[in-house]
Amino acid sequence: MSVESIVTPADKILITGSNGFIGTRALENLLARGFFNLRCFVRPSSKLEKLQKILAQFPAAKNVEIVAGDLLSREDCRRAAKDVAVIVHLAAGFDKSFAGAFMNSALATRNLLDAFLELGKPRRFVNVSSFAVYSNFKMERHALLDENCPLETEPQARNDAYGFGKLKQEQLVRDYGAQRGLKWVILRPGMVYGPGKSDLSGRIGINTFGFFIHLGGRNEMPMTFVDNCADAIVLAALKPGVDGEIFNVVDDERWTSKEFLAARKETKNFFSVWLPYPLMKFGCGLWENFSKKRHGQLPPVFNRRRCAAEWGGNTFSNEKLHKLLGWSPKIKTVDAMKLFLAQYK
């Protein structure tokens, strides 16, 4: 797994969110590449069995530091960023409110960046973002969605607090790059799946009304298996010459929503209803208008922007990921799906 790198194994790498779904895989990936001078930042309330299990697989990982703290605390960020050369910023606080999402994403990142520039030995900041930052509202259905596509300009109208937080977080990272010389790479993973994440993506459908409504139809899913995604993130942390680049992360082979749902149902069948996109779009339009007219009496959870983003459908590309990072998915989709579906058995 050797790769040309901007850091040596002697340089310290910080992974935030290292106990999370992707973070544990990123940690494992770095350890497998011989990087043991790692610092794992975790929430104080985290249960660390998964992380400890990974560390136990690597005898040389005995010096890996685990730092518990809150990224909203500047002091905790200082402890985390001291002497660090690369930060892989995976921590993602989920909050339904816009203010909460902003705090957990942008504010936490601001604290981390300040500490990194103050006390670290900064070579690169890897910011893990999301497809939620894109808007395909004005794009044709099934048009190619790549790194050059427009970003969402109305997250409030889309009622997407998470996307708002991620947009602001990205903006902050770019601003620190422009104003304070921070070297950064941004990754935007698509639909990350794998063992440990049992819920189906909202792109496939929703359970809001007590039964599963399949909304993805024959849309291509921007799927990326968690280990493949983690591999891309680690490459983005190490590879020289990619500062200031943004990468969408999707695997080579991408199933349709219908195929994904059918595979899921093979493990355990459940009732679902398919709703064609035009009907959903019409319903979302009605809901949005009612919500506006009634000043949010119904929160705008269904709206045209969300409808387009989640169920309108796009095609995707990972060309840049292949070309600049030399990445290719280590686990083929057919095997990845087996690993994913095994958790339901």
């Binding site: 309330s45 605390s73 339904k96 203010a99 942008a106 602001k168």
Partner: protein, 362 residues
């Protein structure tokens, strides 16, 4: 008169205040302020508010708002409210009103001295079903003064976005409050008791930590509270706060010498329990049918209120803010009497003094 509004504290609850103010009309949010200026900026950007500040005093000097909504963590309530009153602004203070009753009394005295108005964010007192309950009580439905009150409030620990940060850090602002988790969560359930109790209240409180909280790593944080109260007139009350009761219970019962009322806040329902007796087996048949009729009536009322646009997920906040603004414009008494605000704070002081969370760390 179009009121000029400002908000100090741009966290999660601030959005609700902005949205409620937008629905009221005849008022304009002119400025927002947060010690963390990025927070003020994100709120201002989303709601297109022109004034953005990181310093409250500077905002007060530049904008002289008619009303300031203070939506910061509670430790900042007293100094900020005092500052606003001193600058001539009326103040809507989120719950808990202050950290101590002494602070509450001082704010009330200052507001009265300055001829300004204050209110507490006890918005659950102003939901549609609570307004109807109050109307019935005022019309004499109970058949006399309240004999007994019960207030149940459940909080679901399964939402990690609230609890995890609190448990994760001893320095979290909730952990700095004398009553910790309770301090931030029992204002509503206490305020509705204070409304019907006189000032001469005796309090007997017990608290403990649930097994679930312990397993979540709650350390010394208690999450189960039971309180018995009795006032000078002999009206008794029971307050129950729980993280364990499922399904979540959010109700208020007021019993009179003749009839009783039960408010189910969770479903926006009001149940009227009238005295009466039935012969023989009819006592098993008729009361459940009458109760069923009331449930149907509640469903019908809620559907009609929804269709008419009256029933809103935060109807209580909009109603309270609207009444507060009316009191400012018309120079009337504010919607929540100061006596109730101070009594709520006094009861909470007494509860926290009795349960002493630090003693139960084992």
């Amino acid at each position: 008169m179009k009121l000029r509004i400002a908000i100090i504290g741009c966290g999660k609850i601030a959005d609700q205040h902005v949205q409620a103010a937008h629905r009221i009309g005849n008022c304009e949010i002119v400025a927002v302020c947060d010690r963390e200026k990025l927070m003020a900026e994100q709120l201002a950007e989303r709601f297109k508010i022109s004034g953005v500040f990181g310093d409250a005093e500077e905002m007060l000097k530049q904008f002289s708002p008619d009303v300031v909504h203070i939506t910061t963590p509670p430790l900042g309530h007293f100094p900020l409210a005092k500052l606003c009153l001193e600058h001539g602004s009326n103040v809507y203070l989120e719950k808990p009103f202050t950290v101590t009753a002494a602070e509450a009394q001082e704010l009330v005295a200052l507001a009265e001295q300055k001829n300004l108005r204050l209110t507490a964010g006890h918005n659950y007192q102003f939901t549609l079903e609570m307004l109807e309950m109050r109307r019935l009580v005022a019309s004499g439905f109970l058949g006399g003064a309240a004999v007994h009150l019960e207030s149940h409030w459940a909080y679901d620990l399964s939402d990690p976005t609230y609890v995890s940060p609190i448990l994760g850090s001893k320095t979290h602002w909730v952990r700095q409050l004398p009553g910790q988790l309770f301090h931030n969560l029992i204002s509503h359930s206490t305020a509705r008791l204070a409304e019907f109790l006189d000032d001469d209240v005796m309090v007997s409180a017990q608290a403990h930590q649930s097994v679930r909280m312990k397993n979540l790593g709650g350390q010394e944080v208690q999450d189960e509270l039971r309180v018995l109260l009795r006032d000078g007139k002999g009206t008794t009350a029971f307050l129950c706060f729980s993280t364990q009761i499922k399904p979540g219970l959010n109700s208020f019962r007021i019993c009179g010498p003749k009839n009783s009322l039960l408010v189910e806040n969770g479903s926006g329902s009001l149940l009227l329990n009238r005295a009466g007796s039935h012969k023989s087996y009819l006592t098993y048949f008729l009361p459940p049918l009458k109760a069923a009729r009331q449930h149907l009536r509640n469903a019908r009322v809620n559907i009609v209120d929804f269709l008419r646009g009256r029933l809103h997920q935060d109807s209580g906040m909009k109603e309270l803010i609207e009444q507060f603004y009316v009191s400012i414009r018309q120079k009337n008494a504010p919607p929540i009497p100061y006596r109730e605000i101070v009594l709520t704070a006094r009861i909470m002081d007494e509860i926290f003094a009795q349960i002493k969370p630090e003693d139960s760390a084992t």
